[in-house]
Subunit: 177 residues, 2 copies
DNA sequence: GTCTATATTTGGATAGAC
DNA sequence: GTCTATCCAAATATAGAC
């Protein structure tokens, strides 16, 4: 799975042939089929595993006792840094998500984000800090900049810590009343 | 080119085989090679053409005399609506951009957006409305929600006009001091 | 300019030995 | 559980007639 993810991240989904994956993993082509029913199954499994790992990392060390605005900023940055620490995972995820395979995945992987956004939103509305906007709209406003800033990093742009804080402030500003 | 874009938008890049493109276009497979050197050339040409058409549409009817905050909101919505009016073009663009082919394209297509963001930013900083953040950071905060909200629409979510206005307000809030 | 027919390569997947 | 060898289908691209 890691071999497949590396190839997709580096050279695109079309480059992830069974031959290439087997070579990258250091096994024979036929061996792949002892572990996965098909190449598609392998890629889907790799995607799910990657999402789980990234969001487990991001979820660690988050203090739920903070006031919602501060909590939002820290959560946003934690997810950003979790992806940045593993850019290959991010690149793989982006490419996978734009492929036809994503339809077969069932969006189970995005569930962790949705739950986190729901919690934040509820707390912030209760405290009177956040606008009462639909959960999926807030979720989009939250995740979208993460994705765009990371894509910029893949192309070589390095965001400073101050710039990331400014971005987190902007995301927060979009949520608050 | 339109046939190819339709197939990619509907069934993904992998489904856009020469056989499928020729069938969708109503010509024979060999005929494609009288107009393009390769399948990749055909797809790249389709991508460039699509970007040009969408941004010509979005640029029409924008009043540059407005105060920067209001101008930002209207511009944001105009680009959003231009893409929404042609969702196939958007879906094709997303998928193409995540493929290895995008590296061969040269990113000339995104130039129009960058110029528009630069103008807005300059005006808003001069008027004291906007934060003095890097142009590419503001550009990401501007474009990212467009992309995410449109992706949601591709999956069936229909944003109301009020929700889109709220999104534009949030984008603006991220820019203002 | 477009078609039909075909060459050539490559990809996903399986069989069976070890 | 892994390897080697192989099958079969599909994909890109070309040749040559009309």
């Amino acid at each position: 799975m890691q071999a497949a993810a590396r190839i997709v991240a580096r050279d695109g989904l079309a480059a992830a042939t069974t031959a290439a994956i087997a070579a990258e993993a250091g096994v024979a082509e036929g061996t792949l089929y002892r572990h996965f029913e098909s190449k598609d199954d392998l890629l889907i499994a790799a995607y799910r595993q990657m999402k789980q790992v990234v969001f487990l990392n991001a979820g660690e060390g988050l203090d739920t006792g903070l006031a919602p605005p501060e909590r939002l900023k820290r959560t946003w940055k934690a997810i950003y840094l979790a992806y940045r620490a593993n850019k290959d995972a991010f690149a793989f995820g982006q490419r996978f998500a734009e492929s036809a395979l994503a339809e077969r995945e069932g969006s189970e992987a995005g569930r962790a984000v949705a739950r986190m956004v729901t919690d934040l939103r509820r707390a912030g509305i209760a405290s009177g800090d956040f606008k009462n906007l639909p959960q999926d709209l807030l979720g989009s406003l939250f995740m979208a900049p993460i994705s765009y800033l990371l894509k910029a990093e893949l192309k070589g742009r390095k965001w400073t810590d101050a710039e990331l804080d400014a971005a987190a402030d902007s995301v927060l500003a979009g949520w608050v009343k």
